[in-house]
Symmetry: C2
């Protein structure tokens, strides 16, 4: 039975989508069966694999709205990553977006049941969420075993972590008592910035063993993913970004921050 992990933040642009795509790819390359589920109507995750409109016909929207079967909305991510599947949102317009978010609010039970079904076929399911803590993120948290919080290595992002914790605790208290922290992941650490070491120390001081040992460095190669339509280990295996996500995948496979 796979672990369902929501990737969440309130701060924007902290690396949720990049972590879903690249960590998912690295785990799948280590023989884990991984599913990436897109809950962000921006469709950034699908774009990482060129599975955004007009490349796909179906996605999570069709499952929730029209009863499409899970098998109809799951896509292979990449020919060289046979263990990595993706369910894109398939949101193509603002009208679709309103319907998508509305359905994730109204049909939470359908969403949770679908996830339970899917979890039998995978070792890991990562849910990529938009930069907000209300719907659809609450729906993701209700249906998850864990949540992972990327913390961009900058002061603005660090300030918002408390709010994320409180939102998750609220879901845990009211609806999903088994929800646990998977870990905090420091991302986009810039060697040239004066505050990088201070922020890493402060995050480790406050969040202790829940912070992954692996820190993802700022690496422009990572920003090429949406253009290339493939995760970084498919095109730049020796880059600092790829090596970091590989280290993170190994850290997770050998216990990780939530144990």
């Amino acid at each position: 039975m796979g672990q369902v992990i929501s990737i969440v933040s309130q701060k924007g642009g902290v690396g949720k989508t990049s972590t879903a795509a690249n960590l998912g790819a690295c785990l799948s390359a280590m023989k884990q069966k991984v599913l990436l589920l897109e809950l962000d109507p921006q469709c950034g995750l699908a774009r990482c694999f060129h599975l955004d409109a007009p490349h796909v016909q179906f996605g999570l929207l069709d499952l929730l709205r029209d009863g499409a079967a899970p098998s109809e909305v799951v896509y292979l991510s990449h020919r060289r990553l046979p263990n990595l599947d993706v369910i894109p949102a398939n949101v193509q317009s603002s009208a679709d977006e309103a319907v998508f978010v509305g359905l994730l609010r109204e049909r939470r039970d359908l969403f949770t049941e679908t996830l339970d079904q899917l979890a039998t076929g995978y070792d890991y399911i990562f849910i990529d969420c938009p930069p907000r803590l209300d719907y659809p993120t609450t729906t993701a948290l209700v249906a998850s075993d864990f949540y992972l919080v990327p913390i961009q290595c900058e002061y603005a992002a660090m300030a918002t972590v408390g709010r994320v914790l409180r939102a998750a605790l609220e879901v845990k208290r009211r609806i999903n008592p088994l929800l646990g922290i998977y870990g905090f992941l420091i991302t986009m650490a810039d060697k040239r910035a004066s505050f990088t070491i201070k922020i890493i120390e402060e995050v480790r001081q406050y969040l202790k063993e829940r912070v992954f040992k692996t820190v993802i460095p700022r690496d422009p190669y990572l920003a090429e993913v949406p253009k290339r339509g493939e995760p970084i280990l498919a095109y730049e295996l020796e880059s600092p970004g790829a090596k970091a996500y590989i280290r993170l995948a190994k850290e997770i496979l050998t216990g990780g921050a939530h144990l």
Copy 2:
């Protein structure tokens, strides 16, 4: 009568808040009376001036919920920036956040009237929005003369610009026919990245004269703003980031991208 400009994006972390704080500061240093209005319950803008909880007692939430007068919720940004005022959101909890977003949906008329009142006292009002195109961003667009879209110089951000344009056109069509584009601002341009020049060319090719000539470079000094509680021109005037926002302010004062 001041110009009311919403700073909007769907993509997270593209520099909306940094632009509000630093462009606002530069214009105010050039003798313009500027007000920064925080519509993001994350309170990142207030944090740029150390006007987030627990530093303030009142903010936009109190105006909308309890009828606080505008004068009670306007704060001077910084002792060395007498022309720059800030209205923080004053959202201190997830409960506050839900009320805040709800009020911006329900009390749009109150919000628009408040903005009309305030606009008589300023040359520029910048509204900092969260990374989403539904509420409260739609409320901001309804009450604005213009909208400005920061485009982070990376593929993921470039892909979402179309959605922003469509959302703004929808508001223009249905409710606010005078809403116009203030300009697209390329941000966080990283000299070391292979795609920087390509992306700048592509943005200029598609959005033409609506793109500001000024490009904001990636400059770690800009990320220190929330820690220091002051905009970059208060502590690092010679940095690439400060110089760029000064150039942008001059570009705006001499015509800018919307004319």
